[in-house]
Amino acid sequence: MKKKILVIDDDPAILEVIKIVLEEKGYEVATTLDGNKIEKKVIEINPKLILLDFLMIGPTGGDVTIKLKTNKKTKDIPIILISANHDIENLTRQFDVDGFLAKPFDIDQLGLLIEKHIVK
């Protein structure tokens, strides 16, 4: 069974390319354009890993992380933060995320990071 990854980003082009890259690597990919009702979404999809953009319309990546990491049902799902913010490393210190990747990223790097963190 393919492992499911949820990608959250407000840019459809990025969602599209990530979907291609990850499906090529053998993952099942679900996407969403915002962080609204995220807990409900995550519980429904039940992904093995979440790729999360930081600066989005609506709730930020930070808001999303807090919600998921404080919810019993979702707290164990690894979250990898992807952001155009140069100081992404600092952001990861503020929020309880498992990994991070700066935009623009190298697709091989993305693959390695997911492999590292995805729930086996």
Binding site: A13, A84, N85
Partner: protein
């Protein structure tokens, strides 16, 4: 004790005076009876043979007579002796005496009148055995017994009839009168033949009246007509009926004695002569001052004409003679016996004073009691007067020596002071001569500063140096100018004994001279016009300054009126000034206008004063004028500047070295809200937010280093406590010595500008973020494409896609820099520091960069053992930036060197050196500026200037480090930065 000793001394020498002639001695010794002579103390002076035999041949002389007898006899014997001396009569006593056998003796005491020693009477004692019959008359002596005595005695013995017919004569008698036989002598008559010097008639009368004549001295004419002096004793021998039977006498030859007496008399005469005519006074006085005797010289000395007149005065009680205390004199004589060379003043009859030298001696009797004083007195008034005069002269010189305003001294060549007068002592600020002599003139820091050895050498050659001027150092280390005359004083061998010199303190004169010379120099060199004019207003002195200001040379103007320089409209004013001067007033610093030689006018500030002579009379006028044309111009300039300051929209503030505000422009008031009145005298820190206090000190330090501060952006508080963004330019105000005395700052409100910048920065932030989003998908799609093309082995497409990917990366890094720069400017760039092994960091960064820099070798030299407290990513970013630049700007070279060194100040220094194109000096500072701030951006700037160095330097600054560049165009650049090493 002493008295006894004196007494004895006095006594003992009296023995020789009792000299008994050998003849007498012989006579006494032939007598069949004991004869003893004693003095008034009962001491035996002589004892004849018979006596000695009687008392067992003892040494008797010097013994008290009474001690020859047993104690029970002594009292009565001593009584007899006393009585005999006192009564001058003859006493006899009978006493028993045990001398082997008990015998009875008769002792007769009678006084021997000794002419030579009237003061020392002698007792003659005869001792005979009482049982032997002593005939009361010589006639009754048995012929046998006395025959021997009669025949052998040295005394002539005769018997004559009262008429002088010789009945009997002993051989001595014959011999004395030069007869050979009694028969011949018997024919002579004593009354007629020997012509004794006495009257034989009177002799016979006396003889018959008293029964005897004793000690009659007379001269007899002997048979050969020579004279013989004789002492004669004669007795009348009567029969029972009282009829004179004959005269019996003894005749002693006293010719020798007489001759001696004559000689003595002559000698006495001579002494008398001396006494009378001696050039010294001789006196004899009683201890209580009564004059017993005085010679004519003494009379003359004391101004008396007769001895009688003198003796009316007493030396002790009257104001005549010695002025000394008589008691002391007496005490001295009591102890000393003799006083010699006593010099004192004596008073003469007319109460004038003479100086005398006196010798005096106490004359004592046998008991040691002083009988009188005997003395000689020498008039030494003349000597004394000369001495006194000398003394006065000496005193005068001494006075001169002590009070002369010139220091006088004697010193040894090696600098020891032998003598110095008061002035000399004072000159060297010593308090006493002893203090002066404690120093040596050759010692450093005292006395002359010139070389003593040269000085010695010069004196040796020249013997005398005059007018030697030099600096001396006093005891209190003051430096004084001294003018010296010095001379060598030599002994008989021409060897220098000491230097004699005078030294004059000419410090004041020197100072005057110097002051005068200074004044002359001042006058000559003064830029002010110094003009002296007499009271007819004629110029008599004109200095170079005057020539400079007015254009006239001294030659041209001296002798002309001072009014030559006065514009017509100022003549009245000058007259007023001159009148004031004549009243003794001084007119200071009035500003006026003068005429120059070329007809133009000059602004001057003039002070005028009168020159007075030593009597205080004004004799001339001195005026000092300063050209104030420049000042006037300055004033105008200042006024202009003040106007600018006043009207400037910028805040112009001047602070002193203590940050106190001294100038506050209206612009400053408008900016900060404080009025000038409110803020002057307050600290500039009033305007500074607490977290920016350090800026003030930092700015001062930069100015001190000679750097300029322009458009420094910061925040200040206005009066209403609102922060104001300002851009400030700060410049130092320096004094003539180039010391910063104040700081001027010109501040402009940039709050509005800042607001705009903030908006811009926000815009950049948002824009760059937005740019990154498409860039992310582009990059991802490009990479997807690459993977697919790689599979088809289309190498050309792969290469193209790689170029697209690189450009995407480059675009990304530009965006990143733009974001960093924006954050830096907003102060929002965050650092996460930890202890890092910087060697490893450099290694990693270098490895990364090597992948894209195939043409360059990167060498790492050195390492640091300690870890450094840094933000790993940010410092990595800096090193990356420097290495990228090095590679980029040395395209033709293949070598880059990274050096890691530690400095003594606990810093690590990392430098990146390339050997490329280098950077011109003028651009060294420029390259660190973000191009956003470069106002005139040219096309050329863009390719070479990014934001990298700006960001790098800001990062290093944030780490309390510094970054600098060393670069020579065409030879390469070295960028280096330091980081503090924090101790764990």
């Amino acid at each position: 004790m002493l008295h006894n000793q004196l007494y004895l001394n006095k006594l003992l020498p009296s023995f020789p005076k009792l000299s008994i002639s050998p003849k007498e001695k012989k006579l006494y010794n032939t007598l069949p009876i004991g004869i003893v002579l004693i003095n008034s103390h009962g001491i035996i002076l002589f004892a004849n043979k018979k006596t000695k035999a009687f008392f067992g041949n003892k040494h008797l002389i010097g013994l008290p007579f009474i001690l020859l007898f047993s104690k029970d006899k002594q009292t009565s014997l001593s009584l007899y002796i006393k009585k005999t001396f006192a009564q001058k009569k003859t006493y006899s006593t009978l006493l028993s005496f045990t001398n082997g056998e008990k015998q009875s003796i008769k002792i007769t005491f009678s006084l021997l009148q000794e002419q030579k020693m009237p003061q020392a009477p002698i007792l003659i004692i005869s001792i005979e055995n009482s049982h032997s019959e002593i005939p009361s008359q010589p006639a009754m002596l048995p012929e046998e017994r006395y025959k021997n005595l009669f025949e052998n005695t040295q005394i002539g013995v005769y018997r004559t009839t009262p008429e002088g017919k010789v009945l009997m004569a002993n051989p001595t008698m014959l011999h004395l009168l030069q007869y050979n036989s009694f028969e011949e002598f018997a024919t002579s008559n004593l009354d007629q033949d020997f012509a004794p010097t006495y009257s034989r008639k009177t002799f016979k009368k006396l003889l018959e009246k008293y029964g005897e004549v004793k000690g009659l001295e007379s001269a007899w004419v002997r048979k050969d007509k020579s004279i013989i002096y004789v002492r004669e004793n004669a007795k009348v021998i009567k029969d029972i009926s009282g009829k004179i039977l004959y005269y019996e006498g003894t005749v002693e030859d006293i010719t020798d004695k007489k001759k001696t007496e004559e000689a003595l008399k002559y000698s006495e005469e001579q002494y008398r002569n001396l006494f009378e005519h001696a050039p010294i006074g001789i006196y004899r006085s009683t201890p209580d001052g009564k004059i017993l005797m005085a010679n004519p010289r003494l009379l003359q000395m004391l101004g008396f004409s007769t001895f009688k007149e003198l003796t009316a005065h007493n030396l002790e009680t009257d104001a005549i003679g010695p002025l000394y205390q008589r008691k002391i004199f007496k005490d001295m004589l009591e102890i000393e016996e003799e006083i010699k060379g006593l010099e004192f003043t004596w008073i003469r009859k007319d109460k004038s004073i003479i100086y005398v030298r006196e010798n005096a001696k106490a004359i004592r009797n046998a008991n040691g009691r002083i009988l009188y004083y005997e003395g000689t007195v020498e008039d030494i008034t003349e000597q004394k007067t000369v001495a006194e005069a000398l003394k006065i002269t000496e005193e005068k010189y001494k006075n001169l020596f002590e009070n002369i305003p010139i220091g006088l001294y004697h010193t040894t060549p090696d600098g020891r002071t032998l003598m110095a007068n008061q002035k000399m002592i004072e000159m060297l600020e010593c308090t006493s001569f002893e203090e002066l002599t404690a120093h040596n003139l050759s010692e450093k820091g005292f006395g002359p500063t010139y070389s003593r050895s040269k000085f010695k050498k010069r004196i040796k050659q020249e013997n005398e140096i005059r007018g030697l001027e030099g600096i001396w150092i006093t005891k209190n280390k003051a430096r004084i100018h001294v003018r010296e005359n010095v001379k060598a004083v030599r002994d008989n061998n021409k060897e220098i004994m000491y230097y004699e010199g005078s030294a004059e303190n000419i410090t004041q004169r020197k100072q005057m001279e110097e002051a005068l010379s200074r004044l002359a120099t001042i006058v000559a060199s003064s830029p002010d016009a110094i003009i002296v004019s007499d009271f007819h207003d004629i110029i008599i002195d004109w200095n170079a300054g005057a020539e400079q200001i007015y254009g006239y040379t001294a030659e041209e103007i001296v002798g002309k009126s001072i009014f030559t320089l006065i514009p017509i409209d100022r003549i009245e004013h000058l007259k007023i000034v001159l009148n004031k001067l004549r009243k003794g007033e001084t007119v200071n610093n009035y500003e006026t206008i003068r005429l120059k030689k070329n007809g133009s006018t000059v602004y001057v500030s003039v002070s005028v004063s009168a020159i007075k002579n030593s009597q205080g009379k004004a004799i001339a006028t001195a005026s000092i004028a300063r050209d104030i044309t420049q000042n006037k111009k300055m004033e105008e300039a200042v006024t202009r500047l003040a106007t600018i300051v006043e009207s400037s929209p910028d805040a112009i503030i001047v602070t002193d070295s203590n940050n106190i505000i001294t100038t506050w422009s209206p612009g400053a008031e408008r900016l900060y809200g404080y009025t000038e009145k409110e803020i002057l005298g307050k600290s500039i820190l009033l305007l500074v937010p607490p977290n920016r206090d350090h800026e003030i000190a930092e700015n001062v330090n930069l100015l001190k280093e000679g750097k300029t501060i322009t458009n420094f952006e910061t925040i200040r508080y206005a009066k209403n406590e609102q922060p104001i963004n300002i851009s400030v330019s700060v410049c130092p105000i320096k004094d003539s010595n180039n010391n910063i005395v104040a700081i001027a700052s010109i501040a402009r409100d940039i709050t509005e500008q800042k607001k705009l910048e903030k908006q811009r920065d926000m815009l950049i932030g948002v824009v760059s973020h937005e740019l990154k989003t498409p860039l992310t998908s582009i990059k991802a799609f490009v990479q997807l494409l690459q993977k697919r093309v790689e599979i088809k082995k289309d190498t050309t497409t792969t290469l193209y896609l790689e170029k697209v990917n690189n450009q995407v990366n480059k675009l990304n890094s530009l965006i990143l820099d733009l974001l960093d720069a924006t954050k830096l400017r907003a102060g929002k760039l965050q650092f996460h520091k930890e202890y890092i092994d910087i060697n490893t960091l450099i290694q990693e960064v270098t490895e990364d960069i090597k992948q894209t820099a195939i043409g360059h070798t990167i060498l790492i030299k050195g390492r640091i053992k300690k870890r450094v407290y840094i933000d790993k990513n940010r410092i990595g970013q800096v090193i990356t930036n420097l290495l990228s630049n090095a590679i980029k700007y040395s395209p033709d070279k293949d070598r880059i060197i990274i050096r890691i060194t530690t400095s003594s100040t606990n810093k690590v220094k990392i430098s990146v050196q390339d050997f490329g194109i280098g950077i011109s000096q003028q651009n060294h500072e420029k390259i660190f500026k973000p191009f956003l701030r470069i106002e005139k951006l040219t096309q050329e700037d863009l390719p070479s200037l990014g934001l990298g160095l700006y960001i790098s330097r800001e990062i290093i600054r944030n780490h309390n480090g510094t970054m600098e560049i060393k670069s020579i165009e065409g030879k390469g650049s070295t960028f280096s930065f330091t980081l503090p090493i924090r101790m764990l």
